[in-house]
Assembly symmetry: C3
Amino acid sequence: MDGTQVTGIHQLYARQSHLIDSGNAGGWADTFTPDGEFHSPTYPAPVVGRTPLRDFARDFARDARAGGEVRRHVVTNVYVESLDAEEARVSAYLQVMATRVAGGTRVLRLTALHDRLVRHGDDWRVARRDVRRDDTA
Amino acid sequence: MDGTQVTGIHQLYARQSHLIDSGNAGGWADTFTPDGEFHSPTYPAPVVGRTPLRDFARDFARDARAGGEVRRHVVTNVYVESLDAEEARVSAYLQVMATRVAGGTRVLRLTALHDRLVRHGDDWRVARRDVRRDDTA
Amino acid sequence: MDGTQVTGIHQLYARQSHLIDSGNAGGWADTFTPDGEFHSPTYPAPVVGRTPLRDFARDFARDARAGGEVRRHVVTNVYVESLDAEEARVSAYLQVMATRVAGGTRVLRLTALHDRLVRHGDDWRVARRDVRRDDTA
């Protein structure tokens, strides 16, 4: 597997967290394809397409602020399962961490990501993300 | 140090966790050499060879299920200390995380891995893993 | 972005944690440029230059031992924002974890690193590190 390709995928995952956690909702949405899909048991329905994804990221930031917390998407164990000229399959772990001002840090939830990426020039975008939560049976 | 080689090693560590945590005990055991060794203060004796390693991974999954928990091996700080045509030395951090269904997530233990890898075609396998626990003196 | 260059930066971050956490204060200080700067709200003033950085790392280790704790710098989400022949900008997340002997593990604090790296031969060094804490407003 080509090292530079895998490194580009690592960059995508690192960047996505910095974008959503810093409140750059549009930047986060742009890491998905125009018809990109986000499926997660945390939310009632899939989120599909750039504008809904941007609104979703904006709500995430608003909820964190309303809760008096800083939240971080800590991504680890990024594993590129398959990779060809156009597409990649990736699994990763995601710890959502929450910190209160002048307070402690806790693991809000531990999840796994299962993504289909498609190539976009020299970069990659998420075509479909499936999140699984460890605290749901 | 060759980027593609280092990337291949990152892939190995990410993949190992996905294998053992998803219950693929045989797949996890196959990431070791046939005479691969696993040394950890968490367990009474070293585990050596594919069949004992597979049984060890199976027991890990069984214990987690029996405890009503999902457990994840969160690997970070993968550092390739040395690398040549046949062998690599790697250190990494490992957080074993445990999540209860409908409950919270906690750090079960924090450990460090010190591994000797040997090349296997385009891939790498663990010849010897030494785990150190932070909660033992 | 060149994969081998990005991989070298990942190596730097992994290595820094292993150095400071294992008590190799001089080795950690040497990952900074001779006039490297460390800015963090955890400490009263910036730490600038190799000798002060080494003393800083030594104090970190001493405080952990005095507190009966093992501390680990768990670095994730290493994102190379920009990279040219001489310099790189990098953001990352840092969880400082603390484990008591025969006790549990907790997240001591969650922070973000914003670094300017400069090239040093085939390697990279930190010219300036800005740490932001999630628990300060």
